[in-house]
């Protein structure tokens, strides 16, 4: 499990008071009962953690934990080197 994946799984698990073993890449937000407010809070925490900004249109398309991990990977790959390194 790479760093981004493990950190996001830990973040999601903590936000819902769950053991990390209950959160997998294909776990959906619906399964975790992550509502719209939880999603906004989670996005804020992910943005803080990885120094990125998730565009509104991407936010709406996030349905699974894996979507978040892949989105962060893509945003970091597209970011300037200094930002990606931070």
């Amino acid at each position: 499990m790479d760093d981004i994946e493990s950190r996001i799984i830990e973040l999601v698990a903590k936000s819902k008071n769950l053991p990390t073993s209950d959160v997998r890449m294909d776990t959906t937000f619906d399964e975790l009962q992550i509502d719209s407010l939880d999603k906004i809070n989670l996005s804020f925490a992910v943005e803080e953690m990885f120094s990125i900004e998730i565009p509104d249109e991407s936010l709406n398309s996030l349905k699974t934990v894996g979507d978040v991990v892949r989105g962060v990977e893509n945003l970091r790959a597209a970011a300037p080197p200094d930002a990606a390194a931070s």
């Binding site: 809070n41 804020f44 803080e48």
Partner: protein
């Protein structure tokens, strides 16, 4: 017009996080006022620059680990401790009364008082924003809404009736209970959960009060000759109220009856109170009580739970108001001030004092004003000090006064209930 009774109580306060603890501390005269930790997160100087060193803080509130105070993680992240106090206190009142299993959720009103909102959450977010350009969390809005607790109570209980929060500074809790009383009496709401909540003991809040030079460097001693100011507090108290006939029909425990409510505005000054305004609210509460069947209301008053902040000005003006409202009876009516025990919790103060008044009437025993050894003789009032005192025979009414900054006055009249 229905007779309205109190059938459930709840509280999170500096002198107890259950009604039983509150009652025991109150009658024992054990104050919740104590020195506070002067280390404030993010403060630029180790010296907080305050003239005072005491507040009345809630102790032992733990909504994560204490099952009796448990709140879901989603509620905790999206609420400030002010709202959290309110939710738990309301839960206690609802559980004791059994209101939720006897009334349709759409028939229950929730009327609360909170003046400062999520002050701690607001201050924390802004401190990070202004000092290190930090982003502001999306929950900041939710945590700072003054009605956050009100909504959360409705959500937790599934209550869909008339739900609102009142903000009238130090009178918020009393205005809230007064409105709820009027609604239940008129049949607009068949039952209600009502009270107040506040938790604003932040560095910025303490500094602002310090600048007003009304906070005691020692401890709040209402009506004392040596009084030197107020002490800030926090907490929540909630009452479950319903019509007498409904309470009797379902065999509910009845603590007291609410018989009157009076409001007024000084229309005078944003900080300087006027006796005429407070006296008008007291007279209106007594007139209202008389219309509710309490004949000779003034003559039956056996206890006044005063606003009693302990500032030189408030206590002098309130004493004058008591004389204006009650005339020759005034010197003979026992007066107490709960703020000597609980501090001044602003929007929650009136609710906590209504709770104290209800418990006093229920026990027919009047709590004393802690820390007072000599009453200011200029007041010519019978301030209870040193020991509790029985409610006099033939006296079954009590007034609970709240006189807010800005001259907004609210007074409840309550009656001892005997079956």
């Amino acid at each position: 017009m229905k007779r309205v009774v109190v059938t459930g109580l709840g509280c999170i306060t500096p002198i107890g996080n259950t009604v039983e603890e509150f009652r025991e501390s109150m009658f024992a005269g054990r104050t919740g006022i104590a020195p506070f930790d002067t280390t404030f997160a993010g403060a630029l100087s180790p010296d907080p620059g305050l003239r005072f060193r005491t507040t009345a803080k809630v102790k032992g509130f733990d909504p994560v680990n204490n099952p009796a105070q448990h709140l879901a993680s989603g509620v905790i992240v999206s609420s400030d401790s002010s709202a959290q106090f309110g939710i738990v206190a309301a839960r206690q009142a609802a559980a004791e009364s059994g209101l939720l299993s006897h009334y349709d959720p759409a028939d229950i009103a929730i009327i609360t008082g909170c003046a400062c909102g999520g002050r701690a959450a607001d201050e924390e977010a802004n401190r990070h924003l202004y000092t290190r350009n930090a982003r502001v969390a999306p929950t900041a809005i939710l945590r700072t809404m003054a009605s956050s607790g009100t909504s959360s109570i409705a959500i937790e209980m599934g209550v869909t009736g008339q739900v609102l929060n009142v903000s009238t500074a130090c009178a918020s809790g009393t205005h809230a209970i007064g409105l709820a009383f009027q609604m239940v009496r008129a049949g607009i709401a068949p039952a209600a959960i009502t009270g107040g909540y506040e938790a604003a003991l932040t560095f910025g809040f303490l500094r602002a009060w310090d600048s007003m030079r009304v906070v005691s460097p020692t401890s709040c001693r209402p009506f004392a000759l040596d009084r030197d100011g107020m002490t800030l507090g926090e907490g929540s108290a909630m009452l479950a109220i319903e019509p007498l006939d409904a309470a009797l029909a379902r065999g509910a425990r009845i603590y007291a009856e609410i018989v009157g409510f009076g409001m007024s505005a000084d229309a005078h000054h944003i900080t300087q109170p006027r006796a005429e305004g407070a006296a008008l609210a007291m007279r209106r509460a007594l007139e209202d009580a008389a219309q509710s069947g309490a004949d000779d209301a003034a003559g039956r008053v056996g206890y006044i739970n005063a606003h009693g902040t302990g500032t030189p000005t408030n206590d002098a003006v309130e004493a004058a108001a008591i004389h204006q409202a009650l005339g020759e009876l005034a010197p003979h009516i026992p007066v107490g001030a709960s703020k000597s025990l609980t501090g001044h919790s602003i929007g929650a103060a009136g609710a906590i004092e209504a709770l104290a008044t209800v418990l006093a009437l229920d026990a027919a025993n009047l709590p004393y004003t802690a820390g007072v050894t000599e009453i200011d003789p200029a007041f010519n009032l019978d301030v209870i000090m040193g020991a509790t005192r029985p409610l006099a025979v033939g006296k079954d009414l009590a007034l609970s006064n709240s006189l807010a900054f800005g001259g907004l006055n609210a007074v409840l009249a309550l009656r001892r209930y005997t079956s």
